[in-house]
């Protein structure tokens, strides 16, 4: 059972990374337009040069 000393912090840490990623995504409006984001990658507008 000594493994728990490592495993529990590891699992909490990994979960914490997920939580931080979620909070980041929320703050940066990543969930505002899921349909549009899916379609936007199909555009050819900025294929030749990046969006200024």
């Amino acid at each position: 059972m000594e493994m728990l000393v490592y495993l529990i912090p590891v699992s909490l840490f990994l979960g914490g990374i997920g939580l931080v990623a979620f909070l980041w995504a929320l703050r940066h409006r990543q969930y505002d337009d899921p349909d549009g984001d899916g379609q936007r990658i199909l555009r050819k507008d900025w294929d030749d040069h990046p969006k200024p």
């Binding site: 728990l4 909490l12 979960g15 979620f22 909070l23 337009d33 549009g36």
Partner: protein, 727 residues
Amino acid sequence: MSSYAPSVSACPACVAAPAAETIAALRADKTAGLVLSLPTAHCAVCISDVERSLSAMPGVQSARVNLTQKRVSVVAENSVTADQLVSRLGAIGYPAHELDPGLLSVTETDRHGRDLLMRLGVAGFAMMNIMLLSIAVWSGAEAATRDLFHWISAAIALPTLAFSGQPFFASAWASLRARRLGMDVPISLALILASSISLYETFEGGRHAYFDAAVSLCFFLLAGRYLDYRSRAAARSAAEELAALEVPRATRFADGLESVVAVAELAVGDIIRVRPGARMPVDGIITDGESEIDRSLLTGETLPVTAAPGGLVSAGEVNLTGPLTVRVTAAGRDSSLHRMADLVAIAESAKTRYTSLADRMARAYSPAVHLLALGSFSVWLYLTGDLRLAANIAAAVLIITCPCALALAVPAVVTAASGKLFRKGLLIKDGTALERLAEVDTVVFDKTGTLTMGALEPVGLAHHDKADLRVAAALAGSSAHPLSRAMAKALDAAGIVPADVHSIREVPGSGIEGVWRNVVTRLGRAEWVGAEPVEGTATYFTLGDAPARAFAFTDQPRPGAEAAVAALAAAGTRIVLLSGDAEMPVARLARDLGIAEWRSGQRPEEKSALITEMQAQGRRVLMVGDGLNDTAALASAHVSISPASALDAARTASDIVLLGQDLSPLSDALRIAGQTRRRIKQNFALSIGYNIVAVPIALLGLATPLIAALAMSASSITVSLNALRLR
């Protein structure tokens, strides 16, 4: 969606100039955000087209399409109006409408929604971690290991509950202070009691801790709360919108001097001037000048009426062709526009507050839950004398009866239904609108702008001589009169190039005159042009000595109007057409669409009174309308729908906005509303059934954290899946 530009040809520049300066001064050179609804956008090409063409417009800084919400947000200088953006998009084939800023605050800048989502995310994270630890406990972890797991669970659960549970605690506290027992009181009690008893058990090294149940309870409830929040919109008062239509300034004429004054300063008997293209600021009598007046916003009449000295005008009407001098008979509070706003305010307050199914349920539920928990606590305390056991059982009862599924039952169904209707082109503004829509047995339609497109279009242009059409296009293009504008637009669309007509002048109240190849040509009223009037709406045209010809106009029915009316009639709904327009066009439309019951010449208060009367007879009325004259009726009806092209005030007063041009989603809406109501009731039955099974287990003291967690998740998931069955 039209704005009347002052027509310079007929109006001396001096009349228009002061007003223009005021407007320019009001609009400081700042940027503003505009949001347009884009019902037909659906793919990557749409995004590119819309963004590229809008960004290319002068003054527009950025444009971004949101495909999920079918909207485009534009950041532009204040000089750019929504109308310009809409016409630009219309030109490239995307119908668009400006949306109410109040409606947008719900999804655009929703700090509240983001806040709920964040609490939901934190609760979800904590729930999964605690569940992992709990599985070890359920599967038989003993002694020190179990205690360690309980301690870790507590370390995660307590901060999570303190953060994620805040919405419930806040609203429970608010309802307690108001001496009411809302749904949030048992929820907060369950969360607090469960976590404090579990903490105590953890201290004592006890076997049962309900941290997992408390956190997952919080998670499911937040999910329900978030869905509920999304389907409810900020309802702004329609009466305020109407007041905003009032003109702030007027040009007063006194002692031979003109001065621009605030409308509030005008008194009965003052003489004011109203330039062409401006709205009447007051009620009054015309003392000088000839013009035509557009009353469509107030009465629903499609045709402008002639205005001559002695004629009466009302606040809110638009002066079209010539400057008018008006003697004030009623201003401010007494003006007809204000009376209409009062009418709407009365209708809004008189509208019996609809108690949603969920509210009715909660009203019975909360006291029952409290009594049950208190009862089980006292009985167990009396029987065993063990305070710790009794408290444990009371906490288990509270957790098991907690309205988890109940809180999800309505929002999940309403969200699924709103999503379905949104894809069909209907925007639900109010969460209870669907429930009310399901009860509807009578539909009242307005005519102009609702069953019809609300815009007159010339018919049979192809039968006329092309040279005539070119001259007519030149004349029509120089006037702001609705018929002229419709004609100029139709001719432009037909590819007719305006002829080189010179000396064009507009004769107020009569028409437009010009000279083409040394021949005088006229476009206007029958008697002025010298033509025989024909039946229906028409404008007349002469060129030199040639006989006058008539251009006939009709107001086209909205696409899908006939299908919608037929589908509603087939479903056994009573259909009524109420219009402020004259008898003939109303009768004709009623005949064309197959509506048996119709009334013409209805004033706004008559419309509203008729709906109130029908509701008093026990009928549930759906009002579909778009004009200022419908606003009171929209507010007094059981549920109301307005097209996106309607006036702001009408859209604000209505519960559902029709985004597209097509009326046919109307019958779908009624059908889906009926399904929604059935699903909600099924969901209630499901969660009550689950309580009937689970509550006795808790009362008998047999509930373990495992049973609580299983029952809670199972019921929440069943309820959500049932909501998704909506077709």
